[in-house]
Assembly symmetry: D3
Homo-oligomer: 134 residues x 6
C-alpha cells in the first residue's frame, strides 16, 4: 500500500457542552495542524499516488471553510461538540466529497482511503480513517 | 475508525542481557517519550473517543509506576530485557487493565484497541498495538 | 551562559482590531505551545540553573491564568491586540514577577534573563526575551 | 503486533517527466528523511523485534546506494519518475532483499512486514507498506 | 527584544567544489526548510513585530527565486559553493533588500535584525544572523 | 554571524544528590539528544563554517565517552550532579579542547563560539554557550 501525506493548519474558537469537558465548556480556541494521508494500492502511470499540488490545494480549500471562525456559530455544527476527533471526521468527509467530484484529478479514482489527523498541541492529537469511495 | 492520542514521558536506568545488545549490556538509561493512541469505531454521545483528561491521568499513573527507577531492580521484570518494544507492551497491558477496571470512564467500554509508541531518541522508536478488551 | 527550558501549552479564543489582521479580525482561537528559557551565568551549588520542578509549576500556573478563555473578555488586555508576540511579553512579565517574589526558589536570584517563545502553528512562532530582575 | 523503527536520510538530485509535475520537471533535488518500521507478531528470545544495530546499518547501506547522486543518471530508474512514493517502494524492496538474504540476523525471519516513510519537507511525506517475506 | 518567525521550504540540486566536501562534490540535492526570525525592540501600534502575512509572502517570493532549480546553473552563484550557510546569507540579503524597499510594510522600518535558518536534514542545519538596515 | 549545527544522542544512567531533585535522587537515566552549534564571523574560502563531516565525527567521539554508562561511576564527575545543564558544559569543554587541538580542521581556528543543547524530553532541555578559544 502506497500513501502520500500533506500538512496544513487552521485556527478556530469554540466551546463544548457536557460535564466531561470541564473548563473546556467555556469559549476557548485551538490551532489544529492537519495531516491528510491519501492511500492507494498501486502508483498511477506518472508514478504518483496523487497530484500533490492538487492535494495541497484541496486541503487548503477545505480548511479555508473552517479557519478564523467561531465554530459555535456555524450552522453545520449545531448541536455538535466540535471536538478534535469530530473535526477530523468533518475534514475527511469534505475531502472525500471533493475526491468524488473529481477535484483531485482523474487518477484520484484509485484512492482507497484517507487518514485525517489533527494535532491540537504537542501532547494531544486525534484522527479519523476511512475507506474511499464513501 | 476514530482515535485520540496523548503524550507523556518517563526516565529510567536499565541494562540488557545478550550479546546482541553490545555496549547496552552495561548499565545505562533512557528517556522514553510515550504516545498512547485510543481507538474506537464511533464517537460517544459527547462526540469524543475518550475523556482526554482521564486518558492523560491514566497514562501519567502508569508511567509513574516506572519513572525514576532502575528497571533491573524491578521484580516485575526479573529475567526480562526491558527493551523499548517490551516496555511498549508493558504499558499497553497496564492501560488495558485500567480500561477493563472502568478507570477510563463509562464510555471507554467502546474502545477497540490501543497503540503504545515509545521514542527512545530522535532516530529510534518502538510500538505495541493490540485489541481491547484483552 | 547556562540555560534550562521547559514547555507547556494553553488554548484560547480572541480577535484582533486593525486592517492588517485581515480575517483574524473575526473571533477565532489558537493553541500556543510555550517554551520558557531560564538563563544564568553559573550553576548553583546543586549544579542547576533552576529547580526544574518549580519552573514547570510556575509556567503551569501562569498559563492557567490564560487557558480556556476568550481573551477579548479579559480586563487585563482591554484595548490591546493579544498577538502571539504580545502574549510572549505578558508571560515574560508574569514569570518575572514570580521570580521576584521568590516563587522560583532561593537560588533563582541568580537568573539573568528569560526567553519566552509561543508557537502558534508548525509555520509561525514569536518570542520575547528580556533581562532579570525587571 | 510489535514494531521497531529507525531513521536516517539521503540527499539527491532528480527531475520528473509529465505535465502533472509543473516546475518539478526541471532538475532540482531533495533531502529525504527515511523512517523504516520493522513489524513482528511476537518478540524473539532476547525480547526484541530486530537487532536495532543491524537495522540501522542495513538502512545506512541501502541509503548509501542512493545518497549524493543525480537519480536521473541511475540505470535502475531509467524511464521512471523517482517520486517520493516510488523511492519508498525502492527502499522497501532493497531492505526486504537484505532481510531475505539473512543480513538482518537469524531472528529476522519472524518479520511480518515493513513500512518505509520518506519525509521530503515539513509539509509532505510518502510511504510504502508491505508484507514480508516478499 | 521581540521576534516573529515564519517557516517555508525549497528544493534544489547542486554540487560542491573542494576536497572537504567528499561525495557532496557530485551533483546531488536538498530540501531546505527555512525559518526567518524578524526582530524588533518594541511592538508597533497594532501590537505586532511585522505583518505576518507580508512576512510569509516575502519569504515565499524569495524562496521562489531558488526553488526547483539546479543552483550550479545560476549566474548569481558562479564560483561559489552554495552550502547551507551560504544560502542562509543569500536569503538574509534578499529579505533585507525587500525590507529596505518597503515591501514588508511601513512599520517594518523598526526591524533591528533577521536570523535565517536552513534545516537540511533532521541532524544538520545552518544559520546567518545580521542587523538591519543593511 | 554564521553558524552550523549537528545533532546526535547518548543514553546514560545517573542519580542526583540534594533534596531539590526529589525522586530523581534515585538511580534513573536519560536519553540526551545533543545539538552543537558552531559559530563563525565569516565563511572560510570553501564557503563553510566548518567541515560538517569532521563536526559530526567530533560530536560522536565526545558522546562516545559518555554513552551507555552509569555516570555515577565516572571518576571525572565525582562529587558533581550530572544535570542536563552540567553535561552541556562538559560537552562544550570536550569539543572546545578538540577544536584547540586542531581536530576540527585547519579553518576551525576561526570559530568564535559554541552552543551545546541537550534535550532530555519533549518538554525540557538545557544549554551551555561560550566563546572560543577557551
Amino acid at each position: 500500500m502506497f500513501s502520500v501525506s500533506v500538512r496544513d493548519h487552521f485556527m478556530i474558537a469554540h466551546s463544548f457542552n457536557g460535564k466531561v469537558f470541564g473548563p473546556a465548556q467555556k469559549l476557548h480556541g485551538a490551532t489544529y495542524v492537519v495531516d491528510v494521508e491519501f492511500k492507494r494500492r498501486e502508483l498511477d502511470p506518472d508514478g504518483i499516488v496523487i497530484d500533490i499540488g492538487r492535494a495541497t490545494d484541496c486541503l487548503r480549500e477545505v480548511l479555508g471553510g473552517l479557519n478564523f471562525r467561531n465554530l459555535d456559530d456555524e450552522p453545520a455544527f449545531r448541536g455538535k461538540n466540535t471536538t478534535t476527533e469530530f473535526l477530523a471526521f468533518v475534514i475527511f468527509e469534505r475531502i472525500a466529497a471533493k475526491a468524488a467530484a473529481g477535484e483531485l484529478g482523474a487518477h484520484a479514482g484509485g484512492l482507497l482511503g484517507l487518514r485525517v489527523s489533527l494535532h491540537e498541541s504537542h501532547v494531544a492529537w486525534a484522527a479519523y480513517e476511512g475507506a474511499l469511495p464513501r
